[in-house]
Subunit: 256 residues, 2 copies
Amino acid sequence: MEKREIEHKKVNYKLHIAYDGTRYHGWERQPGRPMTIQGKLEDVLSRMTGTEVEVIGAGRTDAGVHARGMVANAHLLTDMSPKEILDYMNRYLPEDICVQKVKKASDRFHSRYNATGKTYRYTCYVGGLKPVFDRKYVYILDELPDIEKMREAAEYLMGTHDFMSFCHNPRMKKSTVRKVDKIQIQRKQDYLTFTYHGTGFLQYMVRIITGTLLEVGMGKRTPDSMKGLLEARNRSLAGATAPPQGLCLMEVEHGG
Amino acid sequence: MEKREIEHKKVNYKLHIAYDGTRYHGWERQPGRPMTIQGKLEDVLSRMTGTEVEVIGAGRTDAGVHARGMVANAHLLTDMSPKEILDYMNRYLPEDICVQKVKKASDRFHSRYNATGKTYRYTCYVGGLKPVFDRKYVYILDELPDIEKMREAAEYLMGTHDFMSFCHNPRMKKSTVRKVDKIQIQRKQDYLTFTYHGTGFLQYMVRIITGTLLEVGMGKRTPDSMKGLLEARNRSLAGATAPPQGLCLMEVEHGG
């Protein structure tokens, strides 16, 4: 078949994926780094179809970050059913990457461009001991931060703002305006979770917000300092980036 | 101080311990094997007290088996408070071993001889996909076994029996009679759990019972074949030993 003919016969599939990001250099394929989620998925699908496959993820999670609800899409030339694709992928992917669902999508479906919302959760352990079974999925805090103060600070961040102060990339050329419509801070027994929902997030944004809120909770900043922080558009004024293992991409929406 | 004087000044402490057994050759200290739970605990306590310490565990979990509620005791020569001992141990133990509680016990308290009951849980994953976050704590089954048949089989094993057929050690010299007063088989979403309670268990007994019940659930044995199996007192007639990562020691009782 000619290349054009192959492209014409390809079908676009939507994939739901969960992964334990501990061993990986993040989602995005990088030259010379075999351990990326995108790379593992593309390798398996390329082998399955005998053609080069690009897997487009709804977001590019960073090294060490996990996902329970990543959505991706890939145009595949195959006679296999969605169920057969799912079984093939799960058989050949490593044990820390799971394809949860495969279904046909319209040709124009693009998991990133068409994403309308994302939910991230950041989990801290505040039990005072050692979370032996969850240690790779939480950030261990030595003391319990003041939850009310953090909630107060979070109020300033909700809504549509320029989040340049919470963006890891100082040379960001595109807009750093984002809308965050939920920041829920909850304590459940030994765990403190920060749940974020928005249309999209800048690089490290969730971890920098979490790190900054934790500094508020520890009394190092006041809740109302968030206002000036947003206005400053200066990453160096925000808090430390919370470590990656506490972060998990929970859900991606494609409303329409 | 003379040795006798040191022994006299030692105080007996009861320890509650949780551990992820993945990286370990089991509880029991073994020459030439640095990765044992008992060995790690003894090393930290010996360093803390400057004397040789023996840590006595209520049970000897096998390689790869986990614990959420191991109980142990150790006679220690120290001026530290129980809270200080706990903090010291957690600081110097690896991240997959946690001391949950330390308290003074009577001199005669022996965590193994005085144990009156133990609860073990064996967890299988039956979700049909891949449990990326729990993969080191479950046994992955390809299909859901027949729960009612397994419950029926379990009835035959409850009570006081000679469990020689479920004992790993064919040269066991001591009694192989044990009392099992609970075998609870439950499905919760993607997980199938077997909860066992008894006064004590033989080596591999929980895993051999689980493996045998799973064979009943898969239709390879009948529930009523358990009766003959107990009578045969022959390990080779029972089912396969279920793999270690699904097993967890949940609780040890010291009633009195």
